[in-house]
Symmetry: C2
Subunit: 329 residues, 2 copies
């Protein structure tokens, strides 16, 4: 009896009952690249979809060293102690099963790992952001169907993953440290623009004064950004994840955001826009995947690329020839 | 006798002789979306390709108001007075024939417009960056075949066009104004990273002192950026385009860049990488174009999108269905 061969309806029943092992297995099927998991994977999603959507999806980013794991541990535990069910996911295309993503290192979240109301799942493996993002997005749906009402999605703060995560969450939280210079130390300016809240972490001990200063500075700087479409004015708060201070206040801001954006209907219209974005993205991914896996294309691509690189043929002409080739039976 | 029906070989002969009207007509054919221009367009490019490549391609960007037109007028005239042949192109996907791009307003470049050694061509019309960029890139090849040895490509400094232009030039020039704040006024941080030179324009009269200060500040800030692959350390200069001061110095920096990067072979390896980038980009564009023009896809896309938007079907499942549909005969 192989567990993975359980019929999907049984698995989905387990997910809907909030059974953690069923949820974990369903996610594994969705993440799988094995061909025989393709149909079950779509069935699971289709069946979970009507039960999804009833959570607050929160993206969390920040450069390495800012204390993301500690923050998620503290923030997540605060939420579960309020009776919430919290799922913690990650998008990190650079991670692989062997290397393990930040969240793979569960020892950093000792409290949350043992919390029956928390579900932690590391980033799906994969080298393409598109693939990783799609799987995470579908995992959100499954977690929601399993009754998790807060979804935290962590990302690494240095690449394009932020755009992907921003495109799947309701609220985007940027963790920072006090002290100038991190503008130039890896965080992209576009990420600051995405943030609905900037949280200055490690505001404790000797850092406290500097954190207060940074808070004032950021608040001032944020006023210079163009206003957000939903009318929300990003907030700046400070906290100490290790000392559990300032955490409840962050949750209050998020609640205010959700209330405001549900009142002016931006909450749901943003989700609709995200759905559309992911449709276009998925079409794009599938088109490319199919093209580059075509045997005829594969056999000619190397030579063609060489000719293009050496300027013997124009890139567009080469592209047209390859496309024509991909369609010959 | 319709001029557009001249055989392409005759047209190409004209281009190779440096005949401006032949060049303009060849570009018009390349920019055309009419089906009957497709084959001639490819012929023209194929015939010009072996004669292309012998120019310095320079991208110029900066937010509106920074004085790009005046700068190009001053810089371009300086170059032609040195005996260079200068082509000025633009990438601006927001422009259309009716609205006209910045370069369409040739009155801003009165001197250059009358200069027999300058060729000015506004941005091709088009709403997709991919299409506009491709046409500009092919226009570069034609201008080079026509003997232009400096190609200036202007872009608007606020969107994604910079990435496209950066992907088709040897050297990237960012125009700025003195005075803090433009970091927050629209120029993306990624663009600063692309720059091989930052030029602080309008360094004249009362601005002079502030421009000097800005120069020091930017030089300091640039040191914090990660070093460029080619080893080039971006320079910061100031100029006054309206008073023609500091312009020759900019040209000297570009010459130093070209010499250095030809010596360490990065000049040509960068162009090869660009060729490869444009091959992948063209494949991507063609795949999408074909998919979205498929009649079956067209007829179902609206309904499918609606269902995805309303959360009735998962984006990925919808994408798979649409793709399957696009392949049924």
């Amino acid at each position: 009896f192989r567990k993975q061969n359980r019929p999907t309806s049984e698995l989905v029943d387990g997910v809907l009952k909030g059974d953690i092992s069923a949820l974990a297995m369903a996610i594994t099927i969705i993440e799988s690249r094995i061909d025989k998991h393709r149909v079950p994977s779509q069935e699971i999603i289709a069946k979970c979809l009507p039960h999804s959507g009833k959570s607050i999806r929160i993206g969390i980013t920040g450069v390495p060293g800012v204390g993301k794991s500690t923050f998620i541990e503290s923030f997540g535990s605060t939420l579960t102690s309020m009776g919430k069910k919290v799922a913690v996911l990650a998008v990190d295309p650079t991670s692989s099963i062997s290397k393990g993503s930040i969240l793979g290192d569960k020892t950093r979240m000792q409290e949350l790992v043992r919390d029956p109301n928390a579900f932690i799942r590391p980033s799906p493996a994969g080298s393409s952001l598109g693939g990783v993002a799609r799987k995470t997005r579908e995992t959100i749906l499954l977690c929601e169907a399993a009754g998790y009402n807060i979804i935290l999605i962590e990302t690494v703060g240095v690449g394009q993953s932020e755009t992907a995560v921003h495109g799947m969450v309701d609220f985007f939280l940027l963790l920072k440290l006090a002290g100038a210079g991190d503008e130039l130390q890896g965080i992209k300016r576009g990420i600051v623009e995405m943030a609905d809240i900037i949280v200055i972490n490690k505001a404790d001990g000797e850092n406290l004064k500097q954190a207060k200063l940074a808070k004032v500075e950021f608040s001032r700087a944020l006023h210079l950004y163009p206003p957000k479409k939903n009318g929300w004015i990003p907030k700046v708060l400070s906290c100490s994840a290790s000392e559990n201070t300032g955490i409840v206040e962050i949750w209050e801001v998020i609640q205010a955001f959700v209330e405001e954006s549900k009142n002016n209907d931006h909450f749901f219209s943003a989700r609709k826009e995200q759905n559309k974005y992911w449709l276009l993205q998925s079409i794009d991914d599938l088109l490319k995947q199919e093209f580059y896996q075509n045997e005829k294309v594969k056999s000619l691509l190397v030579r063609m690329t060489k000719e293009v690189v050496e300027g013997k043929i124009s890139p567009f002409t080469a592209a047209e020839e390859l496309l024509k080739l991909s369609k010959t039976p």
